[in-house]
């Protein structure tokens, strides 16, 4: 059905849809996040559910204390190496379809704390992330913006075919290895199934003698 006819019909009070749209519509408007804050960003996450920003307008206000009831994990804050196994375990406990928003610099890459010995340089070393929000911390509006981006992503999902999402594809894993505490670091330090960092060209020329007097 073409879009023009559809919008014309909807003006007349007739809603035409197909199964895929209905399915995506239902899921995108009831994303229940896991009640799970790690650090500073969690406060902005709370602020975005409060009266001023009111994430309930997007159907995402029902913060579930249990991962079994949650669709979305907002990784809001620094993931330390001590916490990383728990985060992965929580992710594994969530039922499909599940999404991850990596909120703030620390969750993306370790952020300002990335040089710390106990800080994981980004949660995407262990679990797949759908949306990244840069910022330290991102404003509540930025979280809402990311939630809308996630909704768009869900809306674009096909139910069938090769590009179908993970939860409809039995071959794709929905649980990931939980790292173990080692003597010096987590073991393994990243999950190669998830983590594909591009090779960075290192500027070999050290010309930082100029500048400061």
């Amino acid at each position: 059905m073409d879009e023009g006819l559809k919008s014309e019909l909807s003006k007349q009070g007739v809603v035409a849809t197909n199964l895929q749209e209905l399915y995506n519509w239902g899921r995108r408007n009831s994303i229940w996040p896991l009640n799970f804050g790690l650090a500073c960003c969690a406060i902005e996450m709370i602020a975005s559910t409060m009266a001023r920003y009111d994430m309930a307008r997007f159907g995402a206000e029902v913060f579930r204390p249990s991962p079994r009831q949650a669709d979305l994990m907002i990784v809001a804050g620094t993931i330390t190496k001590k916490m990383a196994p728990q985060v992965v375990r929580l992710y594994n406990q969530m039922p499909e379809p599940k999404y991850v928003i990596s909120m703030g610099a620390c969750a993306i890459s370790g952020g300002p704390f990335k040089q710390g010995y106990n800080v994981l340089k980004g949660i995407d070393r262990y679990i797949p992330v759908d949306i990244y929000i840069p910022g330290c911390p991102p404003r509540p509006e930025a979280l809402i913006d990311a939630l809308m981006a996630l909704q768009r992503k869900i809306d674009a999902q096909q139910l069938t075919g090769d590009s179908r999402p993970r939860h409809l594809n039995a071959d794709e894993p929905s649980e990931f290895t939980v790292p173990k505490f080692g003597a010096h670091d987590l073991e393994p330090p990243q999950n190669p199934v998830v983590w594909h960092a591009p090779l960075v060209q290192i500027a070999l020329a050290e010309d930082d003698d100029s500048g400061t007097a």
């Binding site: 190496k81 001590k82 890459s109 040089q115 010995y117 106990n118 340089k121 505490f181 080692g182 003597a183 010096h184 670091d185 330090p189 990243q190 960092a197 591009p198 960075v200 290192i202 500027a203 050290e206 930082d208």
Partner: protein, 203 residues
Amino acid sequence: MTLEPLKLELEEKVPGCGLEIISNPSPSAQHSLLIDPEHAVAVAMYLRDAAHLRFDYCSNVTGIDWPAPNDAGKAKLKDMEEDLEQDEADCATAGYLEVVYHLYSMEKKHGPVILRMRTCDRGLRVHLPSLVSVWRSADFQEREIFDLFGVIFDGHPDLRRILMWDEYTDHPMRRDYVEPDDYEYEPTAHDEVLRKTMNHYAK
């Protein structure tokens, strides 16, 4: 609070204790008392209980790592560290670990009196007496020093790692600590980080 009369008083009340005033040349002028570990608990008890002192509140407990200057990157010597055992054979364990206690009095509202204790070296002889029996506020802070610096507090009721996990074996706040190598993605590496990144790729 001037330390000289306090030192004399302590030497009189706690016989045999070795005290030394460590002067602080900075404008803060917070001088401190170096006490020998054997008499530390007695000194602390006296400071807490003497009616005119009443240092009932131990605010801050800190560890400091002082490796011998030749193995630390920055070898700036200060007035504070003079008696370094240079002839120590093992370079990595030379130097000492220091624990600093900041004491205040809630009753008399005075302070701070700063106590320091030093370990013999940074290797095996890192035992110091715990002052938890005197001030409970030292509990978690001494555990933290044990965790991050590796000072072993004798007499601590519950000396476990507090911040790192139990399987961890390093003492990360020591200045010669080498962090795990996870430098495979450093798009803005320069200076120190660049060196570590290049080390990573060299492997």
